[in-house]
């Protein structure tokens, strides 16, 4: 009798046999080149196949940033870093930006690189992006997922996790957990210190050869360190779980001072800031929603010092102050909303913000005017019923 449990069990067992044999057979790997592809061991081919499935699902899940320009930009930078040996037709490096405020970047075994928008938003220039992408490309170049898998200890841990998964999550857990073992555990959460440092080394080399200033890599880690100090300790933070963040910064500093001493290069701040302006404001919105006021405020001040003509930046500053609602914030919010409207009087949400602000301070007349203007400019607003109700209440309040 055919049993699906048994079928899956058999499949899993054979997979694990391949895994263990593969692991025993290979504990280091030659750098990736087009010639390596046909010679890859079965276990690595399976790893690629699973990681392709996983990335396909990830791409369809709605987590990717919708800006095609942004996706194109990060890929342009990645392409500039790629040496000829890594321009592989069947395994093209592809970078994608995920909408997520936390700091993370990871590479799947077959060369798909993902960066969280929060990490991009924290960067200052293209040279810093190049340092990060160089590091991720180096994981692919050195086949770190496969090397990690080839470590006997990891295989042993894998068995334990598989067993736990099988017991805890039912029929499909062995299938589900296989990928999680190899890719999520390592590629996403970080490899061993030696592999990470190898990626730092190669990555910085790639960035430098492409003409970027290697010193910006150190600055990137200084920025991340500074920002992490302001964050809660319980936040997921990829670089903190690698060799510690300060160790990574020191390692980069050592590389810059020894291997790349005296080298300078392109920084690319203007282009980077223009290309990533959209995610800087999105990240501010997320931070406002999360109540991370200081983060949002410092990002907005930085943004407005460069793009003071952008009404959305002023509007978000108004939102930040209105929602934080400290005593001194009310005046600041009003000023920020008015700055937004001075740049664009048809910015509906700034009128809404002013209306809510005036209502809170008891200025019914001004609130009424602002709400009416808001609804004129945004007749299909999703909170129209609320605003109409507030307008009606104000009308009653004004009746003799």
């Amino acid at each position: 009798m055919f049993s699906i449990h048994r079928a899956i069990g058999t499949w899993t067992t054979s997979w694990l046999a391949v895994l263990v044999l593969g692991a025993a057979a290979c504990r280091s790997a030659a750098p990736m080149t087009p010639d390596v592809l046909p010679t890859m061991a079965e276990v690595e081919k399976r790893l690629w196949s699973e990681s392709r499935d996983r990335t396909r699902r990830l791409d369809q899940s709605g987590v990717l940033h919708e800006s095609k320009e942004l996706q194109a930009y990060v890929n342009t930078v990645a392409q500039r870093l790629l040496p000829a040996s890594l321009r592989i037709q069947d395994a093209p490096i592809n970078v994608k930006v995920i909408k997520n405020p936390y700091f993370n970047a990871f590479t799947f075994p077959h060369g798909a690189i993902y960066i969280h928008s929060g990490l991009l938003a924290a960067m200052e220039n293209e040279a810093q992006l190049a340092a990060l992408l160089g590091h991720e490309i180096a994981h692919f170049n050195h086949r770190h997922a496969y090397v990690h898998l080839s470590n006997r200890e990891n295989v042993s841990v894998s068995f334990q996790v598989l067993a736990m998964g099988a017991g805890g999550a039912g029929l499909f857990s062995p299938l589900v957990s296989l990928f999680g073992l190899f890719t999520m555990n390592a590629a996403v959460s970080g490899y061993s210190q030696s592999l990470e440092w190898e990626a730092d080394d190669t990555g910085l080399d790639l960035a430098m050869k492409a003409g970027y200033d290697p010193r910006e890599a150190v600055k990137l880690f200084e920025i991340l360190e500074r920002e992490v100090k302001d964050r809660d300790k319980d936040q997921p933070f990829f670089f903190g779980s690698h060799p510690r963040l300060t160790e990574r910064r020191d390692h980069y500093r050592q590389l810059v001072e020894s291997h790349h001493a005296g080298r300078t290069g392109e920084i690319g701040a203007d282009k980077f800031n223009d290309e990533t302006a959209v995610i800087k404001l999105e990240n501010v919105e997320i931070n406002i929603a999360q109540g991370r006021w200081d983060w949002a405020e410092s990002a907005l001040v930085r943004f407005l010092s460069r793009y003071g003509h952008d009404p959305r930046g002023h509007y978000l500053l108004g939102e930040l102050f209105r929602r934080r609602n400290k005593t001194e914030d009310r005046e600041r919010a009003e000023r920020a909303y008015k700055d937004a409207l001075a740049l664009d009087d048809r910015f509906a949400l700034a009128h809404r913000g002013l209306g809510l602000l005036h209502e809170r301070t008891g200025d019914a007349e001004k609130a009424h005017m602002s709400f009416r203007r808001y609804l004129e400019l945004a007749p299909g607003a999703n909170d129209r019923a609320h605003i109409e109700s507030q307008l009606a209440n104000q009308q009653i309040g004004r009746m003799p």
């Binding site: 709605g62 929603a289 999360q290 109540g291 999703n382 609320h386 109700s389």
Partner: protein, 184 residues
């Protein structure tokens, strides 16, 4: 032998404990300590391990859930550092609630579809209709009814996959909301 027996008992205990997490609901629930009264539909099941609110479903939490309860405004919200304040208007309170939903890391792309005034438990509150994606890419929709009374927010929250399931139990949610009474 003793080991096998112990294992069997442990497994039986585990199964029993697992089963005990759900109990059938239906009829009126008078949560006096929490200051509200509500009527639940028959053939729905309550997760009894969740103590701070009523969490019910008919076919499983992934397919539909309704949460009913109250939360002290002095307590932290699950996902945002923003705070509710009893002087807030229903619209302002709905902003804080949605900021909390938007900050939930297990969902993505949370969008408000409608934010309207609503009678909740006999008092003027709000209704938030929103959509989002799970990390696996499934589109879900939710309705959150909330009202600030005294130092609490009272809420009814319905959450289900956008396709098929969400529409299926909207009427059930409305019945539950109509029966909901805040007694403070």
């Amino acid at each position: 032998m003793i080991r096998i027996k112990s294992l069997k008992f442990a497994l039986a205990g585990l199964v029993f404990w697992g089963c005990a997490a759900w109990e059938r609901v239906g009829g009126i629930y008078d949560a006096r300590d929490d200051g509200f009264r509500v009527e639940f539909p028959p053939e729905w099941n309550r997760n009894t391990r969740i103590k701070d609110r009523y969490l019910i479903t008919r076919d499983g939490l992934l397919l539909q859930l309704i949460e009913v309860g109250r939360l002290s405004i002095d307590k932290d919200l699950p996902n945002t550092k923003r705070k509710l304040d009893k002087s807030m208007s229903p619209l302002e309170a709905s902003e804080v609630v949605f900021d909390d939903i938007k900050s939930n890391q297990s969902i993505m792309n949370a969008q408000i579809l409608e934010n309207a005034p609503a009678n909740v438990g006999g008092f003027p509150g709000f209704k938030l209709l929103y959509s989002c994606n799970t990390k696996e890419g499934l589109e879900k929709m939710g309705v959150y009814y909330g009202v600030l009374r005294s130092s609490h927010i009272y809420f009814l929250h319905y959450f289900a996959p956008a396709r098929h399931y969400f529409q299926q139990d909207l009427k059930t949610l409305e019945k539950v909301r109509e029966s909901f009474q805040v007694k403070i």
